[in-house]
Structures are given as structure tokens and as C-alpha cells.
Symmetry: C2
Subunit: 446 residues, 2 copies
């Protein structure tokens, strides 16, 4: 009996073997991989264990996957792999008194926050794709989001994980002794398969306020941000869009955004109205000092409209060129004005469209190269992507703020880390996945 037959017997219609059915599992939100041998949709931990044992017997790699909304190719399969799609493992249990939840990997990020809201609680990590992205994917990539400047990233909210190892054994452990959960978080499924996690929830702040500031350019915007933070501001969200990005969103939504200007969006939150107002006032004054025009959202609906502009960036960019490379660098805040200028200059030099936006509060930038493979050389695009990564490293930055390394940035990782450090990472991979079963070709450079 071959592997396809065995998968069919064990998983029935939840083993996808036909080409047409498997096609959609080749993609994440940024890259296209090879056609997998099969896609399996397990419903229980025991099925994940059975699948690991089966894959080992046949010497086939396993590629875990959530919603496929990742931006680094982490869930994109290689030829002949078995994709493990966790979208059917969606059990969610809330413990409001302990302010925790136990979630299976297929639970979407938004569902957790919605389930927590009636208890006055929320789950802070909020990747832009939070309506569709899964917690398993969030953990795999250690996802961030606008709120992470104040609240931290996914890993900061994980108390315990359950995972299936390369022998098919289940482990459930917290973060004492050796922090194995911490090692699995961000490892993109290359060290084991997550089958559950205990997550920490926070009390929902009762007050919030939003402000939009339009600057003549990115440089004064970055300076204002830097100064406001130095003065002690800790806004909940702090996002920026460069003029090219503002134009793209305005073309798309027609909501009256100021074309040709750099936009800063800020939200403050807190226990007391006074605190929220004082923090926003500090940001407002600083923005005015750097030549911005400022608009305060007068209520929740207006605030929501402003934030919709930020979330519309991805679809808006899709209308300019059919494809894009979405980078995810993080640089020291003090280097932001220089980094933004150098990247814009690189785009002009390469003759490619580059727009920039991101979580400016913690220096996490998303330079996007927009292109049409019919009109522009893909090789040139990747060359430019590589140059942009070098700008980040030159200014003391890192290659991945929140999207993970995946397939897309593993070659760059070889430049970011020295050979000895890579050896240590490989030793860890070898210890937990001695047969090279889990998501081969991701994270570590070839």
C-alpha cells in the first residue's frame, strides 16, 4: 500500500490528493511553492501523531499551515511534501478568571479576541490579517501587529504549548526549565507541530483615542515619533504610511486622505480618560512642532475609519501591480529617517515602485516592492529586496520584525548571522528534528 492509499484510508476525505484540491495550499500571501504530494486536515492531536509517524515511515517532509496569510513563505510547500493544514483544529476554551485561553492551532486570531471580549478581556497580538490568520500560524511566525509596540508580540502571550515531536510523541510544557515553547515559537514548524497553546489575555482598556497627523515628508514624521517616545509616550498603536502609500490607499478608498503627504496614525489606550487624553495631547503637540496638520477622531466610528485606511494598504497596493515583495525590517528608531530615505532612493535607482509603511513606534518597516512579472524582471526585484535588507543591517537593524524568515529571507539570514551562530541554530534543529521531517528549507539558510 502506497502513501496516498494509506492517507486516504486513515483520513478519508480529509486527505486531499487531487491536483485541483491541493492547488490552493501552494500559496501563502506572498509566495507560491510546489504542488504538495498531499494535503491532510487533521482534527485531533492523535491524528497529527499518526501523520508524523506515517510521514517518517515514508521519509516525506511535513509542512504545517494555518490560514496561509503569512508573508515570508513559511507555509509554502516544497515538491512532494505533505501539507498539514490545521484549519479543522479549532477548539477554544476560555478561563476568564485566570485570564487565559487554551486554543488549538486552527483558531483564528480574531475569534480569540471576540470570545474574550464579553469577559472584559482581549488578546493583544493583532497581525493585519487577524480576521483570517490562525493562532498556530501566529505562533509559528511569532507574529506582531500594530499593538505590539505597547503590548509585545505573540510569544509574550504564550504560557504553555502542546506539540508533536519528530517521533510522533506529544509534549505539553510551560516555559520553566528550558524554554522549549519559546524555541518553538517563531520556528515556523521546523522543530515540531503545535497542537495547542495556553495564551494569556489582558483586561480590555476602557478608554481609547485616535489621532491622524499629516507630515510634509517621512523625515519630520520619523523625528516627531522619536521625540514623542523619548518624552515618555507609550501609544497602543503607531503606524505610518509614506506618500506613495497614502496615494495608493486614497486611489482605492477615496476617503479624503492628504495625497503626497506622509501619514502617522496613533491610538492611545488606558484605564482612565485623562491618561488617554494626556498621552494623545503629547503626541499632538510633538507632531505640530514638526510641521504636521493634525486631526483627532471625534468618536469610535471616525477612529475606525482612519484605521481602515491602514488595513486597506495591502489590497490598495495590489491594484498598482499584481505582485509584490513585502519586506519586514526593523531598525533602531533613531535610524528611521535615514533608512526610509535610503530605501526610497534604492527604489528610484532600480526603477521599481517601492512604498513604505509599518509600525514606526518600534522601527518595524514594511518596504514593499510592487511589480508586474510581465513588465519587470523578477530577478531585479529580488536584487532590490536584498539591497533593502542590507540597508537594515547596515543601520543596526534586523531582517524580520514580525513576518518570520520563511523561505523568503533565509538567504539573507546567512548575512545577518556569523557561521558559528548558524552552527548553533543547526545543532538545535538537529536535536529536535534529527530526520529533517519538519518544514525543510525554512528559516535556516541552505
Amino acid at each position: 500500500m502506497g502513501v496516498r492509499e494509506e492517507l486516504r484510508r486513515r483520513f478519508g476525505p480529509r486527505a486531499l490528493l487531487a491536483r485541483a484540491e491541493k492547488e490552493v495550499y501552494r500559496y501563502d500571501a506572498i509566495l507560491v511553492g510546489e504542488s504538495p504530494l498531499a494535503v491532510v486536515l487533521p482534527e485531533t492531536r492523535e491524528e497529527v501523531q499518526a501523520l508524523v509517524r506515517l510521514a517518517r515511515r515514508y521519509g516525506l517532509p511535513l509542512v504545517p499551515r494555518g490560514a496561509g496569510s503569512g508573508l515570508s513563505g513559511g507555509a509554502v510547500p516544497e515538491e512532494g511534501a505533505i501539507v498539514v493544514a490545521f484549519t479543522r483544529m479549532t477548539r477554544l476554551e476560555l478561563f476568564p478568571e485566570a485570564r487565559t485561553a487554551w486554543a488549538e492551532p486552527g483558531v483564528t486570531t480574531a475569534r480569540l479576541s471576540e470570545a474574550a471580549r464579553p469577559f472584559g478581556l482581549f488578546y493583544p497580538p493583532d497581525p493585519a490579517s487577524y480576521r483570517t490568520s490562525t493562532l498556530g500560524g501566529n505562533l509559528g511566525e511569532n507574529a506582531g501587529g500594530p499593538l505590539c509596540f505597547k503590548y509585545g508580540v505573540t510569544g509574550d502571550y504564550v504560557l504553555e504549548v502542546e506539540f508533536v515531536d519528530a517521533e510522533g510523541e506529544v509534549h505539553r510544557l510551560d516555559r520553566r526549565a528550558y524554554d522549549l515553547p519559546g524555541l518553538l515559537i517563531g520556528s515556523e514548524g521546523t522543530l515540531g507541530l503545535l497542537t495547542g497553546a495556553r495564551l494569556r489575555l489582558l483586561p480590555l482598556p476602557p478608554h481609547r483615542a485616535t489621532l491622524m497627523a499629516a507630515f510634509p515628508g517621512v523625515e519630520p514624521l520619523a523625528e516627531a515619533v522619536s521625540q514623542a517616545i523619548a518624552l515618555g509616550a507609550v501609544p497602543a498603536r503607531m503606524e505610518f504610511m509614506d506618500p506613495a502609500c497614502v496615494n495608493a490607499v486614497e486611489d482605492y478608498l477615496g476617503m479624503g486622505l492628504p495625497r503626497g503627504e506622509a501619514l502617522l496614525l496613533v491610538e492611545t489606550d488606558g484605564e482612565e480618560r485623562e491618561e488617554v487624553e494626556a498621552e494623545l495631547a503629547l503626541l499632538q503637540e510633538t507632531a505640530l512642532r514638526f510641521g504636521a496638520r493634525v486631526r483627532r477622531a471625534k468618536d469610535g466610528a471616525e477612529a475606525e475609519a482612519l484605521w481602515r485606511a491602514r488595513r486597506a494598504v495591502s489590497p490598495a497596493l495590489g491594484r498598482i501591480r499584481p505582485k509584490r515583495v513585502n519586506e519586514d525590517i526593523a531598525v533602531p528608531r533613531s535610524a528611521l529617517p535615514k533608512v526610509v530615505a535610503e530605501i526610497a532612493e534604492l527604489g528610484r535607482a532600480f526603477g521599481l515602485i517601492v512604498v513604505q509603511f509599518g509600525h514606526i513606534g518600534d522601527g518595524n518597516l514594511h518596504p514593499n516592492i510592487l511589480f508586474d512579472p510581465k513588465r519587470e524582471s523578477e530577478e531585479r526585484v529580488w536584487e532590490l529586496a536584498h539591497e533593502i535588507a542590507r540597508v537594515a543591517l547596515k543601520h543596526g537593524g534586523v531582517l524580520s520584525g514580525e513576518h518570520g524568515i520563511g523561505l523568503m529571507k533565509r538567504a539573507f539570514l546567512a548575512e545577518a548571522l556569523d557561521g558559528e551562530t548558524l552552527k548553533a541554530l543547526r545543532a538545535v534543529k538537529g536535536a529536535l528534528d534529527p530526520h529533517g521531517l519538519f518544514n525543510p528549507g525554512k528559516v535556516l539558510p541552505p
Copy 2:
């Protein structure tokens, strides 16, 4: 040339070889180990590298050590080991604009916070020993402290680490890709030797307020805490002492604490006076509902006096019996009243003095068994310690809230984790320390 001669040549007077000089390096704050072969006080990363290579050549284990204020035996040497005392590596560099600091492992916890204060910043992890404990030791044990309920533990503030591996190579890396820094944090020096860390600082909250509540017993105290937190309170610090502990501190300080009652100390902090007051009022009302008498500190000096009572617990207990076993369990808050009662009952059954205190906000309890080896059987004491650990596990708790596993709790770890999970932890240890060079006999059970 033998190892002693080689150490003397390389490190001069910073290689301690005489018995009398080495004696003090056998202890931490709770256990006494064997006399080491030598104690070395490196001053640079390069010296740490040289020491690792030398130890490998001679096949001798290395035991890293900070101030020796640990409470789990993590820094206690085994026979013939070389102790690496990091107290001379004390370089500290502040980057106020980035809200970070780069610290060598010998910098004391208090010094970092003091250096940050003029910039309106602070470093939240505050183990009780923070005046003497070193950041290297804090990282090794992933130390917590009263502030950790609101602000998280040491690991939450580590952005980057530098460490020397088993080959004597230096690595410096942040927490992207595989979170190797996270793995080293809490590993008690068993995976590599930390030579530096980039730490995150927070803006110092301008307002704070303190409240003391005296309850007729631990049970209503635990209920009140549980309920206040369920209502949304996030105090900065929340500590409790059981009546035996209150009596001991009052005998020691004579400051008018209410004998025979259970004490709760709460501090709230924040950006706005109103927020701080509202949070304290919520806690006050809840405490009153559970029969407490409540006293608000009217100013900073009075608050400081109340917190001094908490910090006096350790010396106060030392006056009752010369030795103690200080446990560090963490249990779900809802289980607190039961756990405290069961542990008190166990103490009575064993005929040993047990006092309890700790960071009740996150369920982190420190049951202490006080004993005099001349009057009480040490074997019975450890039997009782083991039983207390079992109470924690039975109620869904863990064995180490913030002190680490060390030597003291590694046998208990075998009960807390299943064989397969231990195998995974051993695989990680084997990958990073293949020759068993680093702090053998710690963390992992025999």
C-alpha cells in the same frame, strides 16, 4: 603544566586556588555545594572564551555564578569544578532614546535601575535580592519579583544576548529565527556562558500608591485577591504573608504589624493620579468585603516602611531557625486558598515550622520550611519539601515560579514532566553542550 598552574599563569590573582579563598563560592543563598577546584574571575569576553577552551582540554566542568543570591542551588559547584564568577564583568551602557541598556553579567540588578532613573526609565524585574543579585544570575534563573505580576519576568526584557558556547565561540543574537536567547534564559548556565545582554527599559510611572490589608486568615485574603483581579485590577505589586510570617517579621522589626493576621500589600502605579487611585480603591473595597482592616500609606515614606516589612521576611525567618528550604511553587489563583491550607496542614503533620508568603497576584507562593539541623532531621525536611511540591502539581501548578530548578528541584522535575518531554530537553542540552561542560547536575533530573 597542570590546570592550576595554567589558570594561575593566565588569570594571575583572579584565579583563586587556596581553600580559604574558594570557600565562599560553595554557597548560594540556600544550599552549600562541594569545594571547587578553582574560582576564576574573568574580566572580558575573551577571558571567558579562553577559560572554556582550557576547561575543555582538561575535561573540567564550569559553573557560572553571579552574586550567589540564588535560591535553588543553581550556582552551587560540584566537586572539582571551575567556578566562573562574573562579578568583575560590570560594564553597563545606557541608550535612553532606544530605551535599552547593554549590560555585562556582573552588573547588579539595582545598578541598572539606578542608572536608568535619571532618564525617567526603569528595569522592572525586581527579585528580593536586587541590591546584590547580578543580571547574569537573573537571566540564568529567569528571575521574577514583586513587580512581575504587572510587568513580567527577566526574560520579557531581554532583547539580545551574547554568549560563549562549548567550543569557546562567541555568539551575539537577538530573538528572531530560533529564539536561542530565550533558551539560554532560565537555563542556569547549562547551555552556554552569558557575557552580555541588551535589556529593555520602561518609562518610570510617575504615580504610585500603597495599601496594606490585614485579613483574619489566608483564605479570605486569597479570595479577595482573586476577585479584585477578576474585576480588572492590575496592581504593580501584590504580596502576601501568612500569620506565621507576619509574627516573624514583627518579632524582628517591631513595627506594629497585626500579629496573627494574614497581610496583603498592594501597590498600584500609572501615568495618572486618578488611575492609580481608582485601582487602589477597587482593591480596598474588595478587601473590606472580605473582612479586612485596611490601611493606606499616606506618603512615599510610609509606603516604603510597609514594603520594608516584606523585604525583611528572609532575615526575620533566619532568627527562628538557622536553616530553611525556600520553595517557589506557582499555582492557579483559584487554587490558592486550598493550596495554602494544605501546605499549612502538611507542616503540622510533619511537626516542622512552615511559613508562607509570596507574589499572590500570579499565584507564586514561597512556602518556607524552617529548621535547625541539630534539632530536626534534614531528611524529613526534604520529604516535606517534596510533599509541598506535590501539592502544587496536584492543583495544576508548577515547581518553580521564579527561582529556577537548580540543584534543589531537579528531582521534582522528573515528576512534573513525562519521559518523552525530558528526552526533548536532554536533546537540546546535548546539542548545545555535547561534552557536558556547563554546570553539570543542574536543571535536568539525574
